[in-house]
C-alpha cells in the first residue's frame, strides 16, 4: 500500500527550502514555477515500517514583506516542514509566524523544524534560548545543511513517521 501525503515546506525567503530538497526528490518542474506560480511540487518516496509513503512536497515561495504564502496552497496538507536559516534572526520570527498561521488555519498538524545552514554554525544568530523555545513547541527540531547534505533525510523521515497512522505502522 502506498499512501500519498501532501506536505509543505514553509519558511522565510532564502532560508534554503529549495536547496534542502533539491537532491532528495524526484523533480519534474523547473525552479521557475516558484517565482511564477509561487509553488513547485516535487515527490519524495519514503518507507516507514511497512508503509510506503509518496510525499508530494509543496515547495512554497518564501514569505517576506512582499510575498505572502497562499492559504489555498496549505489546504489539505498532512504535514509541514518549517525551515529556519540559522544565520538570519528574521527567519526565526517568520517561521514561528508561519507555524502559528498553519495551526490557526488547519489545527494541530504534524510538523518538523529544520535549522538550516548548520555548516555555517559559527555565523548563527539564533540563540540557544530560541532553539529551546522551538523544542518546547513539541515538534522535532533538526539541524540541517543543504550544502553538505546533512540532516535532510532525517527531516523528511521525521515528518513521515508522524504521518503514518499508528495502526498502519
Amino acid at each position: 500500500m502506498v499512501l500519498q501525503k501532501k506536505i509543505c515546506l514553509l519558511g522565510a525567503f532564502s532560508v534554503g527550502k529549495t536547496s534542502l530538497i533539491q537532491r532528495y526528490v524526484n523533480q519534474l518542474f523547473s525552479e521557475k514555477y516558484l517565482t511564477t506560480v509561487g509553488v513547485k511540487i516535487d515527490k519524495k518516496q519514503v518507507t516507514v515500517g511497512n508503509t510506503a509513503l509518496s510525499l508530494m512536497v509543496w515547495d512554497l515561495a518564501g514569505e517576506d514583506d512582499f510575498t505572502q504564502i497562499r492559504s489555498a496552497h496549505l489546504r489539505g496538507l498532512s504535514g509541514y516542514i518549517v525551515v529556519i536559516d540559522g544565520t538570519r534572526q528574521n527567519s526565526f520570527t517568520v517561521a514561528l509566524a508561519l507555524h502559528e498561521r498553519v495551526r490557526t488555519e488547519l489545527g494541530q498538524v504534524p510538523a518538523v523544524f529544520a535549522l538550516n545552514k548548520s555548516d555555517l554554525k559559527d555565523q548563527w544568530l539564533i540563540s540557544h534560548e530560541q532553539i529551546r523555545t522551538l523544542a518546547q513547541l513539541g515538534y522535532p527540531v533538526i539541524e540541517t545543511s543543504a550544502k553538505l547534505g546533512l540532516g535532510v533525510e532525517e527531516v523528511f523521515m521525521g515528518l513521515a513517521r508522524q504521518l503514518v497512522p499508528e495502526k498502519v505502522n
Binding site: Q4, L28, I41, S54, A72
Partner: protein, 590 residues
Amino acid sequence: MFSAEELSSEASTQRSQPINTARPASESLESLDALEQLRALLLGADYEILYDLRQQLLDRERYSLHVADIISEALTLRAQQDDSLTDALSTTIESAVSHSVEINPNRLANALYPVMGPAIRKSIQEVLHQALDTFNYLLEQSLSVRSLAWRFDAWRTGRSYSEVVLLKTLVYQVEQVFLIHRETGLLLQHVVSPQAITKDPELISSMMTAIQDFIKDSFNVTSDTSLKTLQLDEVSVLFNQGPHAVVAAVVRGNPPAELNRLLGEVNEQLHRQFIYALKTFQGDGQPFKSTQPVLERCLKTQLRLKKRFPWLAILALVTLVGAAAWWTYQYYQQQGLVQQALAALRSEPGLVVVDFQNTQDGYQFEVLKDPQARDPLSVIQPLQSLASKVTALKVTTKPYLAMEPEFVLGRAKQILQPPAEVELELAANTLKVTGQSDLPWQQKLQQSWPLIAGIDALDLSEFKVEDSSAAQFDQQLRTLTAKIEALRFYFSSGSSVVSDAQAHVKQALPLILELLETARSVGKMPQVSISGATDETGTEITNGRLAKERALAMRDYLLEQGLPASVIAIVKPDTGLRNERSIRYQVDLF
C-alpha cells in the same frame, strides 16, 4: 408523521421500561400506573394506532410484508429519478451472478443460451467491420495521395509523420484523465490513452491543483467558482469540480461541449459511488482503483476523416483472396501432377521410387533403376509438358537389380545371348533351357548361369548339345588323308636318290602339317607312313631293298624340310604297287 428511525428509537427507549406487549385496550384502568394513565388521556385512540404501527416495525415478518407491497414501486420511482439505484445494485448483482456461476454454471449458461449466438455473431460482425475499417485506414495512410502529401509536409516542417497526421485528422483526443482529491490535490486515479505520452501523474495532479489555487487567489475570484479550462495551443485541460474530487481531462484538439457534460456525469457518478471513500480519504488510493473503467469512458477520440466506403481495403482483400485462390489452384495442380508422376514411376517395372521432395528447383524423385528398366524420364515424359507450367519434375537414378521374373529372365538373356535355336524360360527361380546349341554356347551357359542374380537352378531336360565341329574335323581329316595318300614321288630307274623334289615337298609338307594340327585339335595323333615301290626289272630282293631305300630317302628329305619326326612313324614296303619306281604315303590316326 414519524420517521422509522424515530419510531425505532422510541421503541428502544420504551423497551427499557416494562411494557406488557400483550396488553389489550380492554384491560382495566386500575392496573395502569400514572404515566400510562396520562398517556391514555393525552393520546386516546391514537395511542393504539401508534402502538400497532410500532409493533409492525419491530416485527420483522410484518415489516417485510409491508415493504414487499411497495418495494417494486419504490425501485421504479428511484430509477426514474437518477442512476444511484444502478450504482447501488451493481455490486450486489455482480456478486450474486458470480455466486450463481460458482454454484451452478449451467443455470446461467442455459439462461444466456438464447442470446449468446446472436451476441457472438454481432460481436464478430462488429470486429470484422472494425478490422476492415482499420485496415483501410492503414492502407490509406500508407498508399493514398493524401498520405504522401502529409509525409511531404512532415519532411518540410521537420515534424514526425504521426504529428502531422494527428494535426490534419484529429478533431480532438482525450489523452489523459485525472481524478484528483479536491482538498489535497492528491491523485486518486489516472487513465491515459494508448498513444499519449505522460509524465509523473501524481506531480501533475498536484501542480494542476496549485495552478488552480494560484489563479483563484491571483484574480480574487469568489470561492465558489473554479477553473474550468486551461488552454495552450492545441492542448487544453478541462476541469470538472465536484464537492470532493476533480475530474481533469487533458485534450488535444478542439474539445466539444459534450465532453464537458461527460466529465460532469462521470464526476457525479464517482461521487455517488465513492462518496464515503472521498470524504475519508487519507492518502490511500487503493479504494479508487475501481474508478478506472468509469474514467476510461472519457478517453474519447474524434477524427476528421469522413466515413467512406473502404474500397482500398476491399481491393486489397480481393487481391489477397485472389492470390490465395490462385496459389491454392497452382498448389493442387502441382500436387496432382506430382502424384501422377509418382504413380507412373511406381507402376513402371524395374523402377523403385525411394524418395521425393519439393526443392527450390522443382520436385525431385529419387529412383532406383534396374538396367533393364525404362528410363524414368521417359516414363514421366508425358507429364513434363504439363508440369513445366507449375513445377519441374526431376529424377535422379541409382542402379539396382530387380528380382521380378521378367527382369531376371531379361538379365539372363542379356548375359547368355542364346542362339536362335535356344529358348529361355524362368519359373520359380529356375532357368529352363529348351532347344539345342553347339558346344561352346553350352560351355558358356554352364559357366555363366550361377552368376546371374535371381537364378537358383538350371533345367536342361529339354536341351541338347549338337557337336558339329567334331564331324567337321573328321571330314577335314579324311580329306587331308586322301590328299596325302594320293601323293606320289617318282625315282629314276634303279635309283633311290631324291632329286627335283621341291614341288613335291611344297605340296606334301603343308598337307601333313595341317593334318597334324587338325588331328591335334580333336585330340588325335596322326602317323604318316612312307612306303617305296620299284619296277619289275631286277630281282625281288634287289627291288625290295631299293623300295626301302627310296622310302627312307624321302623320309630323310622331309625331315630335312622341317617335318616333325614324330609324324613319320615307320617305313614299310609297298605291296600293292607294281612296276612303279615311286614312294607313296599312308595316313593313320591314333
